[in-house]
């Protein structure tokens, strides 16, 4: 059973890995002689113009900027929401859940208009603005749940000691929120790394493409002309950083998602 599950989850990934290491001739016809294995696909991808690592760097930049901005906005918002009482609290919570569920592709056209009229297209840092908005609902919900878990006496004590709001957040509350902040940050980074529709329409300069767009663009040609080996190499290179992140931060991701489910 375990094996079956692993085969289902990893099979397609391993097949990409295998494809990326095969010579192009070996893909269409089993070679009868000679060594079918090669690293040429990786050389091809890495020596492209722009080289592949450029896309990785672009995605990393957008991801980091988005994560930072999201946390900066989400922490005060979650704190405020947690302290709020009455129908507003309920209403804002519901609106956040609705926004978290909203399929973001439906937003791209109006956002594209905004980008054009404010000159934000082809700007990676500007791209992190809509990304932050897309990540905010989940981030606020997760962090609000984390704030709710902290004992209220703690903050009262800090207030009696004469600490202001900023100090209470910085020295008392946030240090205790470490795990929640970490899992929120990872989920935000993942979402930003994988976003497609908005990046597709905001970014047109080839040296500024984020990874999902770059990969989709390589594959834009006809099915028969695609250099599948190079492609597979690109997907492997593009997946590796994420795989590392997921494997290393698995516990954090799972706890973040499950918390969101339990409290949301």
């Amino acid at each position: 059973m375990r094996l079956l599950v692993l085969l289902w989850s990893l099979g397609p990934l391993l097949w990409q890995l295998r494809t990326s290491l095969l010579r192009p001739e070996a893909l269409v016809a089993p070679l009868l002689e000679g060594n079918p294995w090669t690293l040429a696909n990786y050389q091809l991808v890495l020596s492209g113009d722009p080289p592949f690592w450029q896309y990785l760097a672009n995605s990393t930049l957008v991801g980091l900027a988005t994560t930072l901005l999201t946390l900066l906005l989400a922490v005060p918002c979650a704190y405020g929401l947690q302290r709020l009482r009455g129908p507003m609290r309920w209403g804002v919570g519901l609106a956040l859940v609705a926004a978290a569920m909203f399929p973001t592709v439906l937003l791209f056209l109006a956002l594209l208009e905004i980008a054009r009229s404010f000159g934000l297209a082809n700007n990676l840092l500007a791209l992190s603005l809509p990304y932050t908005a897309l990540s905010l609902p989940l981030a606020v919900l997760l962090l609000r749940a984390a704030f709710a878990d902290l004992p209220g006496e703690l903050e009262d004590a800090a207030r009696l000691e004469g600490l202001g709001l900023g100090q209470r957040l910085r020295f008392v509350l946030l240090p205790l929120l470490g795990p929640a902040l970490a899992s929120t940050a990872i989920l935000v980074f993942l979402a930003s790394w994988n976003e497609y529709a908005i990046a597709l329409t905001w970014i047109s300069r080839s040296d500024l493409l984020t990874l999902p767009i770059a990969i989709a663009r390589i594959g834009g040609g006809s099915v028969f002309t695609i250099p599948y080996g190079a492609f597979a190499a690109a997907t492997v290179l593009g997946s590796l950083p994420l795989m590392l992140l997921v494997l290393l931060a698995q516990r954090s991701i799972v706890s973040g998602l499950t918390r969101g489910a339990v409290k949301g």
């Binding site: 005060p76 937003l107 099915v223």
Partner: protein, 295 residues
């Protein structure tokens, strides 16, 4: 009162950004959908008195795509819930190597959709992909997984299920972990079989999580875009085109912003109706109540 003002002030920056990114587009689409704004008008909006909505009603492609989108969404969400439940039950059992197993099964969900859409395109490739190679070695002949209009949609569903099943499983796993183990133990001591425990204890307690996964995934699946754009481009013969892809094509290929806005709004309405319908259906069966209680 001072407390309340402070709370609202702290929330203001985030709420403003959210309004700009979520609320403004919907209002803008409402306005644009009542205007002609295309290459013909130089993308300058000119009021056209609801002509876009009239066109939508007569647009066979829109209605075909709506049907295809619903078919895709319902099939993939149903399979994800079933498969996700199975996977969650498996991951919940005390197994050797459960931690790494969880991490590895989570991988498909974490990777960019476009990346693996390309991977699937190669796996489904006719005739060189591994699936066709396997078919041939079993004595069959190659099958056009992505070029047979009658069946291609199902393979798109399969690729979507592969990617999002881990997410559903994780949500349900969170639900399983809230069920006290001694309840299960007590039922077992009374001689209940595994299936009985599942039906009488586990599933009822899991309803809030199933509902959450259902609503969330349904909303996402009804807006499916990147998977289809990369995997099939909407083909063959438009048989996998989704509403979101149609709206995208109207905006970016046909440069008709007015009509694209109309299609987006219509998609959003369809989504509201589907989710609302799903909710009412659950409610009629008394399932929603336990969700509300849990929320």
């Amino acid at each position: 009162m001072k407390n309340r003002t402070l709370s609202l002030l702290l929330m203001l920056p985030a709420l403003l950004l959210l309004a700009a990114v979520f609320l403004y587009p919907l209002l803008r689409y409402g306005w644009l959908s009542l205007h002609a704004s295309s290459v013909l008008t130089g993308l300058v909006p000119i009021p056209n008195g609801g002509a876009n909505w009239g066109r939508l009603l007569d647009d066979a492609r829109f209605w075909t795509d709506a049907g295809q989108t619903l078919r895709f969404a319902f099939c993939s969400v149903a399979l994800e819930l079933l498969g996700g439940l199975g996977l969650a039950l498996l991951l919940h059992r005390p197994l050797r190597g459960r931690g790494p197993l969880r991490a590895l099964t989570l991988l498909p969900w974490a990777l960019p959709t476009t990346v693996m859409a390309l991977g699937w395109r190669w796996i489904f490739n006719d005739p060189h992909g591994p699936l066709n190679a396997a078919l041939r070695s079993l004595g069959g002949s190659s099958y056009g997984f992505l070029s047979t209009p009658a069946t291609t949609w199902f393979f798109v569903v399969l690729a979507d299920v592969w990617k999002t099943l881990p997410f559903v499983a994780l949500l349900l796993l969170a639900g399983l972990q809230t069920i006290p183990a001694d309840l299960e133990e007590a039922l077992r001591l009374e001689g209940a079989t595994r299936l009985q425990i599942l039906r009488r204890l586990t599933l009822p307690l899991l309803v809030p999580y199933l509902t959450l996964a259902l609503l969330f995934r349904l909303a996402q699946a009804l807006g499916v875009f990147d998977l289809i754009q990369v995997l099939t481009g909407g083909g063959p013969a438009g048989s996998t085109e989704s509403l979101a892809l149609y709206a995208y094509l109207n905006a970016m290929r046909f440069l008709d912003f007015g009509y694209a806005s109309t299609v987006m709004l219509a998609t959003f309405l369809l989504l509201l109706v589907s989710l609302g319908g799903g909710w009412l259906l659950l409610r009629r069966h008394g399932l929603a109540r336990s969700t509300e209680r849990a929320a």
